[in-house]
Subunit: 127 residues, 2 copies
């Protein structure tokens, strides 16, 4: 589990706007990890860790991409993986495990992780 | 497809805070519909329709709940259903179909819908 907020504070509004696109992944089947969370009031390194986890995840085998949003205190991050083993391997990466422990102890009030197999997907052009 | 923003503008910050909780659904397997979207600049009845769709969905057979967040222009709504047939039936509800058409024509710049079978789920207490 980890959420990946878009925390590039150095980019301009224009650059951020350009970067916001809906992710269109490969054809199913593939795996989605749905991570929903509420945060505590404690920041203490959270943004830095989130950014680092985002970079680390992207280097993992089978990583297909992720999407993240947070509003009114509820965060949703969905990461996509080629196989369940790929998603599981990311969970077990040692630096990620340390971040997970800190998340439980410090940053998250509550969270839920759901592992799901995407069986169908369509975009605006296809129903 | 539809997203359900938390659009209760009449509630106080305190009430909203109380309402923000991570959704813990039934034991898997069940179905998740992951809807990600970017919006156009056109509002034109969007909030009202979103709220109405949220109410309608909750009355559908097999509805287990939904979670929604939007930030930096990207929205993610995940709705949970007992079966794929239940999710499909919601897609076909006539009032919802009309909203989907308006969404495509007016409110969404782009979107993606993914239908997924949740095979495992855990919260903060269980890894």
């Amino acid at each position: 589990m980890w959420d990946f907020p878009r925390s590039d504070n150095t980019s301009t509004a224009f650059q951020r706007e350009q970067a916001i696109t809906v992710l269109h992944t490969v054809e199913p089947p593939y795996v989605a990890v749905i991570f929903t969370s509420t945060r505590t009031d404690t920041d203490d390194g959270y943004d830095r860790t989130a950014q680092r986890m985002s970079q680390l995840a992207a280097r993992q085998p089978g990583y297909l991409g992720h999407e993240s949003a947070r509003s009114d205190g509820l965060g949703i991050t969905v990461s996509y993986w080629a196989t369940e083993a790929d998603a599981q391997n990311w969970k077990l990466v040692s630096e990620h495990r340390i971040a997970q422990d800190r998340g439980r102890d410090t940053w998250y009030r509550d969270y839920s992780v759901r592992i799901a197999v995407v069986t169908r997907a369509y975009g605006m052009d296809r129903r």
